[in-house]
Amino acid sequence: MATVSLKKLTKRYGNMEIVHGIDLEIADREFIALVGPSGCGKSTTLRMIAGLEDISGGTIDIGGRMVNDLPPRSRNISMVFQSYALYPHMTVRENLGFSLKIAGAAKDHMDRRVAEASAILGLDELLERRPSQLSGGQRQRVAMGRAIVRDPDVFLFDEPLSNLDAKLRTQMRTEIKKLHAKVKSTVIYVTHDQVEAMTLADRIVIMRSGHIEQVGTPDEVFSRPAIRFVAGFIGSPPMNLHEATVSDGRLMFSGGDSLPLPGQFKSKTAAGDRVVFGIRPDDFYPTGHGLSSGGETEVHRAELPVSITEPLGNETLVFAEFNGTDWVSRMLNPKPLKAGDRIGMSFDLSRAHLFSAETGKSLRS
């Protein structure tokens, strides 16, 4: 049993507050991804959970036990550091086995765990090398291995895959997922990469400048962002977000163009309201090349000029000009287009988002 519970967790450096009293309940065996822009306090939060950073306010419970004043070694956690933090004077094998050696594990147990970890991570050929003789990606795998040789209550990962190439990253992602299914520990996983967050996590925690903005399953944060920030942060390419004013059942954009006000927001807005209209590239597409082509209930069509295209093979990102700026759209079954072409575009308004311009809160129910 290792639930993790943060209550009013606060971190101050001097009189600068970095983490502003966050609350978070993490269930046993849950995989939590912590995402947010650089400098928002993800590492700091993780380090407080690990016990490497003093807690300025609030409490942390692990497995129902308050750990505020326990040193890291008494918390039964393992951690992968953003900067690897390998022991430079030990070989890969010694690095992997170090925590077991400290815990006084039997030699054969240690050897078996090290062999398992090294097999999972593909480190077999590197076991006798020292960290200085490894590439960045190899070091990162050793750091991962060091965490998984133990059976901790909680795994803390601080961007463990950030230095791997795309292929290895995908491979390691799968390994982490398998590993979690197998070891059944609670995992708190900090990442910049939303694909990692979406694919791995049971729930995603989105942080911004020391606050938690939204906590939800990957589907929730993707389809029902609670605030404008989350809408813009989750999803790649990001959601098109543009300010508009409600007038006469229409959204009037500053550049002069307008769209019909989606039906579901009619009762939630009044004329003159300042709002932010949001639509994902998946819901704004060249007519006939969309995800849900044909099944839409509320579609607005417009003929728009193409400004640039980014072919990705199975799909093409089309930047179409609307209201004087480029709106990104996803074109499935792509056909060749060139800049300046005019194409028919569909806005699937039933899937559009509307946020209050003032508070940033979503107006969807």
Binding site: A50, G51, L52, P71, P72, R73, I77, S78, M79, F81, S83, Y84, A85, L86, Y87, P88, H89, F98, S99, I102, A103, R130, P131, S132, Q133, R146
Partner: protein, 298 residues
């Protein structure tokens, strides 16, 4: 002479070479040569009598020399080990200080700013059996009734000298080890804490291997220093009582000037250099091994 044209760099360096030869190489050659003669300052003509290895052979059977040799090695062992322990402790304390670290570092260097002669006088005064601070303090605190004859009894005098040496040079260890601690990446220490290490285990398995090369550098420097120890001993006890604190170089000095046996003294000196070379080689090997171990890129 036609055809001999020294190159410009050689010509330009010539003055420096001549000066160096005159002040360094020539005296070295002369002293080496004199170690093969029965040269006595009082009888200059003996300078030209060549006796081969006779001086060196007589050293081998000279008990005084071997006592001094052994004492030097003993002082070196005691002083280096204690200096290392104290220096390590000091460095770790200073590293922990979050405020005023620069001032502490400067203060730490203080003993190194004193000339050894001054250190000698200072400790000679402190350990004086009648008026010295040490006895005064011990008596005032009621730890002892009698005046302890610090510089008069052989073993105590040796201890007093060791203390003076240690006081004056612990900072070399402290500074170098502190440099190591400051250069050390902090993440492995954090990793060790998460991996379950107690503070002692963290030190033992992570910090110490990292600062070891720095400690060996200090060891190399200090082993040469102590093997040449002269000033402090000369001032505090002058090798006394009854030769009980005679070290290699005080013996060499006495043989050369008091006994005026320059040839023999030079032979002793050259022999002693072997000791220094041995220590340097030893610590360099240790240093190289320690550096390789932490994968140092310097």
């Amino acid at each position: 002479m036609k055809g001999f044209k020294p190159s410009a760099p050689f010509l330009l360096l010539l003055p420096a070479i001549v000066v160096l030869a005159a002040v360094v190489v020539l005296p070295l050659i002369l002293s080496l040569y004199s170690s093969f003669t029965p040269f006595r300052l009082t009888r200059p003509e003996t300078f030209f009598v060549f006796v081969g290895f006779r001086n060196y052979l007589s050293i081998l059977s000279n008990a005084d020399f071997w006592w001094a040799f052994g004492r030097t090695v003993l002082l070196l062992t005691i002083a280096l080990n204690l200096e290392m322990l104290l220096g390590l402790g000091l460095a770790m304390l200073v590293e922990k200080a979050t405020r005023g670290q620069r001032i502490l570092r400067t203060l730490m260097m203080f003993p190194m700013m004193f000339s050894p002669i001054l250190v000698g006088f200072q400790f000679k005064f402190m350990f004086n059996d009648n008026i010295g601070l040490v006895n005064n303090a011990l008596q005032s605190l009621g730890i002892t009734e009698d005046a302890i004859p610090w510089l008069i009894e052989g073993h105590l005098a040796f201890i007093a000298i060791a203390i003076a040496e240690i006081w004056s040079s612990t900072s070399i260890f402290a500074i170098l080890i502190l440099a190591g601690l400051l250069a050390m990446p902090k993440e492995p220490i954090e990793a060790a804490r998460v991996d379950g290490c107690t503070p002692w285990q963290t030190f033992r398995y992570v910090t110490w291997p990292f600062v070891m090369p720095f400690a060996y550098i200090a060891m190399t420097i200090r082993s040469l220093d102590v093997a040449r120890a002269y000033d402090i001993v000369k001032i505090m006890t002058d090798g006394g009582p009854a030769g009980r604190t005679e070290l290699l170089w005080t013996l060499v000095g006495r043989t050369a000037y008091s006994d005026a046996r320059m040839g023999l003294a030079n032979a002793m000196a050259y022999f002693s250099i072997l000791l220094s070379i041995a220590f340097t080689v030893y610590f360099y090997n240790k240093l190289a091994a320690a550096r390789a171990q932490i994968g140092a890129e310097w």
